[in-house]
Every structure is written in C-alpha cells, then in structure tokens.
C-alpha cells in the first residue's frame, strides 16, 4: 500500500523577475518547494501515519530539485526519487506526464498519487490530469479534504472545491488527486527527519530506467519567450477630503466615470 506525492521546486515568490530585451527571463537563484506541494507532502505523510502506508516523494527536475525531495523526506516520506534527463527540460505537460506515469508504474503497488493544485512557476496543472490519463486512473482535482480512504478496500471519498460549491465524491483506487490549501496545515520537517534526509542517497531515473522512447519525450508545446506585463500607467491617485464622507463621494464619482460600476 503506497502513496506517492509528486513535487517540484519553483522560484521563490518574493523574487523579483526580469525579462530582458531578447525575451529571456531571470529570477533570483532561490528555489523553494512549490507552495501547493507543501500541502500534498503533508497529506501523504498524514496518510502514512494514519493508515500505515508507504510514502514516496517524486520530483522531475535537475539537481536543484533534490532540495524539495529532501524536504519531503524530512517531513516524513519514506523514500525519494528524482526523474531527470536533458530531454525532460521545458516541462511540456505531456512529456512530464509520460515520465511521471512511467515512474509510478515502475514503483508498482501505488494506490494514490497526490499533486499540489498547480505549479506556481509555470502556472499550470495540465500535467496532473495528463498523468492520470496516462496511468488510466481516476482523477479527483481540487481536493479540500480526504473524507475517508480504505487502502485495503481500494476506495476513497473526498471533498472537492469547485466554482459552484463543494462536492463530495467517492471513487475507486488507484487514483490521482490534486490538493488545495484548505486540506491541512503543512507540517514542519522533524529534526530526526532532517538527519535522515541529509544522509539519504536519492536515485535518479532517466528515460532508460523508465522505458521512455523518443515519442514520449517529444514536446507538443514550446515556450518561445517572455514578456513584461503591460505597464499600469501612472501612480495612485490618493483621494483627499476632510471627512470619510467627502472622500467616499469623490471616489464614487471617479469610479462611475471609469464605468466600472
């Protein structure tokens, strides 16, 4: 009985991001665990504790992504595996999904795969749903709580947060889920976990180990460059007035003029 959480490092949100004239983007060097994955990792470790299942953390990425794997081990995952090869650069969602699905198949006996809701850097979640399809498993996205899970009986019941409200869905395992912020309070690494993580040797699997051929690794989309956001003109207009009522009246007029009411 086995739970796998899939993670990735992303640039620190606080980092300033710049785009040069040629359309190349750069941010500071600081990478952090993808913010959504903190919830996924914690959920995997909570399930491990409650149901006595194995928890594996998986990342697709070059060596810097070791840190997010070590973080997962320090929080309590049993093992970590990194998937990488130059051909995987670019994070085309289909290539990514092929790689992750192959890794899950190789691990074997996996009942549940947990992703964070989306990758904060590329602002995308397509790889999550595509991983589910490549595995041929059910997909339950935007999970705010795992209501019940029976690893022996192979069932799961979750609450999903969708636009119209909250939905309770039950499904057969194995399944892929993505989790949102409400699901738990991210755990801290334990000191014992930190020691274990620091000592861990993390294997790297490439296309050879995963049985991926050229077709699996061909990207279907391509980033051609980056652009700065269109500049928001001007500085803020601070509304003055002797009283709150005066300021309010002035603001109301301005907003009506802007035709946004």
């Amino acid at each position: 009985m086995h739970v796998v959480v899939v993670t990735k490092n992303t640039p620190d949100t606080e980092a300033a991001v710049t785009v040069d004239a040629a359309g190349n983007v750069s941010w500071g060097d600081k990478l952090v665990v993808n913010p959504w994955d903190e919830y996924a990792i914690t959920e995997a470790v909570l399930l491990k504790g409650a149901h006595n299942v194995q928890a594996t953390i998986l990342a697709v990425g070059p060596e810097e992504h070791q840190e997010s794997l070590k973080h997962g081990l320090a929080i309590g995952c049993d093992q970590a595996i990194r998937i990488w090869h130059d051909s995987l650069a670019g994070y085309d969602s289909l290539v990514y999904a092929n790689a992750v699905a192959a890794a899950i198949r190789k691990l074997g006996d996996v009942d549940l795969v947990i992703f964070g809701k989306e990758l904060a850097d590329i602002a995308s979640d397509a790889h999550i749903y595509q991983t589910a399809r490549k595995l041929g498993w059910t997909m339950l996205g935007f999970v705010a709580r795992i209501e019940a899970v029976d690893f022996g009986g192979k069932t799961i019941r979750v609450t999903r947060l969708v636009e119209q409200g909250t939905q309770i869905v039950s499904s057969r395992l194995p399944a892929v889920i993505s989790v949102v912020k409400d699901i738990n309070e991210p755990k801290y690494p334990t000191f014992i976990g930190i020691r274990k993580a620091a000592k861990a040797e993390i294997p790297v699997w490439g296309p050879a180990e995963l049985g991926l051929d050229a077709a699996n690794l061909t990207p279907r989309t391509r980033v051609v460059g980056y652009q700065n956001l269109p500049k928001r003109e001007g500085t803020v207009q601070i509304i003055e007035g002797a009283t709150a009522q005066e300021k309010a009246a002035t603001l109301v007029e301005k907003l009506l003029q802007e035709k946004v009411i």
């Binding site: 801290y188 690494p189 000191f191 014992i192 620091a198």
Partner: protein, 404 residues
C-alpha cells in the same frame, strides 16, 4: 578552513525560521504590547523538539550539535528576543549544565524531561543585590542530614513562574575564604514547599517574555539535587555562562539580521526626493554597517560553536562573541529605527521592539563592561583558564544520535 554549514544545519535553521515566522510573528507584537507571555510558545517549542535540539538522543534530545543551537537561537531572536531567552535559560544555562556536571541519575531525572520538553528549566544566580558580582550572593544552603535547607531570593530570573526545574546557587559556607569557594549549585523544583515565584513587569524590552523572581523559604532540597560538589558552585555557574552567553550572542546575530533585513526592505520601498531611500548615501552607510556587524558577529558566534563541538575550552571566545554581537545589536537597532524615520518611532513597525529588546542583552549574562574586563584580563595575562573537573562534552555524532 571549511565555513560551509552541513545540510542538517541548513534544514534545521530553515525549519525554526518557518516555525517562528508562521506561528509566532503574526501575534508577537500584541503580546509584547500587553507585556504577556503567549502560552502557546513553550509547548509548541517542546512539541517540535526545539527545547532539546542539541541534547543527545539518549537523553531525550534531538542529537544536533552546538552549532545548530546557535542557528536556532539566531532564527528565534530574528522574530523576538523572548523566544531566544527561552533557549538561553532552559538549554544554555540549565540543560547544558546537567550535560556537563550532572550525574547519570540527575541526567535521567532532570535532563531527559527537559530535553523532551515535558519540563522547563531556568537559572537562578542573580539576586537583587548581586548581578555583576555574583559572588556576593546572599542565598544560603544549610546542610541538615540528607538534605540542605535553602533560603534566599533570586531576581531577574527568566521563566521564573514557568519553570519546573530551577538551577540555583547558594552559599553552603557563607564565611568561606575566598568567598567564591562557599557557593554550591542545587536543582530545586517549583513544587517544593517554600518555593514561590512571581512575575516582573514594566521592563523596557523583552516584554513578551517571562521574567520574574524566585523566593526560597526554608526549602528542603535533597542531597541528590545538589549539582556537583559543595563549594564547586561558582565554577559551575561560570561554565553555565559559557553556554548562556553563547545563545545570547547567537540571538543577537539574529537581531542584527532583523534590523538589516527590515531596513533593506524599507530602503527599497520608501521614496524621498523621487528615489528609494536606498539610493541615498547616508542610508547606504547604515545598511553597510549593519551588514558588517552581522557578518562579524555571526563568525564570532560560529567560531565559539565550532570550539564547543571540538570539546575545546571557549570561555574567552564565547565571551567576546556575546560582547560584540550584543553591543552591535543595539547599534543596529538604533540605525534601523533611524532608517524608518517617524515610522521607526511607532510600534506599528517592528524596529522599535528590536531596540528595546537589544538593550537587555548588553546588561544580562555579563554586562558589556564585565565583558571588557574579561577580555582585557585574558589579553594581559591576568586570567587563565584552568581545567574544570567536568568539561562540556565535545560533539560526537555517534554518541549524540544513537539511543545508547
């Protein structure tokens, strides 16, 4: 010379940083304003294992080294001094004294519950009339059969009303010549008959921290609670300060960093004369000095920590680290308030709290004036370190990390 911290160091530091930032920072200003202790802090630090960070696993601790203790203190004080004060008294002054001087039985009885965080420890040396001159303390301990009767009042004791175990110093021989040979160390517990405690308010700084007094009236302390030998108390107290000062210096490094980081943030957002104030030279000067003070203080503290790891006597090196780091933290806080201008004068922002907190550290654990006398006496050859009967054990990963 390898200055790199290990992966364990970096991860442990990050973990404490995240904890302090997420769980303590959001409300610390309110607790500081109200001069009250947030009751969630001690149990949470216990739960996370922070209260036993550098105690061997076999004694209930987390098995990390002395350098990690400095990094933890830096992160705690980055958010508020009151957090680091907990480590100074519970770990630096009390738990590490047990590690160094305690019998196996005393380690089981006192150190294990402290490392696990079930019990909190404090340090009772200072009295109303005995601060810089601890030898003049007036508490007494009269031998009576298989126990001692303790009388006296300790003051300016952090965690006084919270601690379960208090390491106190009293004179078993009030007429000893020289006087310091008459001092003996005892572990009293807050539930002993005759022990009363109270809180002190109205402090300039560390207002979210617990500071108080401990009064002993005919307290019967069993002989098993005596730490070390009769007459050894002064040496024990001084060796405790080697560890307490270490945490104070490490914390001051965090305070300097708080001033630096907050000033940088403000310098990049506040505009005057059409530019961020970070473009103005006199602001640059302040930032530059804070950076220098942070770099230097940190290295001094880490050197002391490295020496502790090696099992080397580090009294002088720890003292100079504490003196420098705390003095510079006051200066950094003054500069930070100035960078913030009028907003530095308001408690809406953190920098005024840094200043009030910083002022405490140049007074306690050896005032800066005492530190200067210490350094001069070492340099002039008037002061030498003699080997102690019990030394702080060097960090041995195998011994610290295994169950034993």
């Amino acid at each position: 010379m390898d200055f790199t911290l290990t992966e364990e160091h970096v991860m442990a530091q990050q973990m404490v940083r995240d904890f302090a930032q997420r769980e303590i920072y959001p409300t610390i200003k309110e607790w500081d304003r109200r001069q009250e202790v947030n009751p969630a802090i001690l149990p949470r630090m216990a739960e996370l294992g922070i209260l036993g960070i550098n105690i061997p696993v076999r004694y209930g601790g987390q098995g990390f080294d002395y350098l990690t203790l400095a990094l933890v203190c830096e992160e705690l004080e980055r958010v508020d001094t009151s957090l680091r004060v907990i480590m100074s008294v519970h770990m630096g002054l009390n738990s590490m004294a047990l590690l160094q001087w305690g019998t196996e039985e005393q380690k089981q009885r006192f150190l294990v519950p402290q490392a696990v965080g079930e019990k909190y420890g404090a340090f009772g040396l200072t009295e109303a009339d005995a601060g810089s001159d601890p030898v003049s303390l007036r508490s007494t301990a009269r031998r009576d059969g298989d126990c001692y009767i303790l009388n006296g009042e300790k003051m300016w004791i952090s965690l006084a009303s919270k601690a379960h175990h208090i390491l106190v110093f009293a004179k078993t021989d009030p007429h000893a010549q020289p006087a310091y040979k008459g001092i003996t160390a005892f572990m009293i517990t807050s539930d002993m008959k005759g022990v009363t405690t109270g809180d002190i308010h109205g402090k300039l700084g560390v207002r979210a921290g617990s500071t108080g007094w401990v009064a002993m009236q005919d307290v019967q302390v069993p002989v098993e609670n005596r730490i070390g030998e009769e007459g050894e108390g002064f040496y024990i107290a001084m060796s405790c300060l080697d560890n307490g000062r270490y945490t104070v210096g490490a914390g001051a490094v965090g305070l300097i960093r708080a001033c630096l980081e907050d000033s940088i943030k403000y310098a990049n957002t506040r505009h005057t004369f059409g530019d961020p104030i970070g473009h103005h030279q006199l602001i640059k000067q302040k930032i530059a000095y804070m950076q220098q003070w942070y770099d230097a203080a940190r290295l001094l503290v880490l050197r002391a920590g490295w020496m502790k790891n090696q099992g080397q006597r580090n009294t002088r090196e720890t003292a100079v680290a504490k003196w420098f780091a705390t003095d510079m933290s006051v200066k950094a806080a003054l500069e930070a308030v100035q960078v913030y201008g009028a907003y530095g004068f308001s408690d809406e922002y953190d920098v005024e709290r840094y200043l009030r907190n910083a002022k405490g550290a140049v007074i306690y654990e050896g005032a800066s004036e005492i530190q200067q006398l210490i350094q001069a006496d070492y340099a002039l050859g008037y002061r030498h370190d003699r080997p102690l009967r019990c030394e702080l054990p060097a960090y041995d990963a195998d011994y610290w990390q295994n169950e034993g």
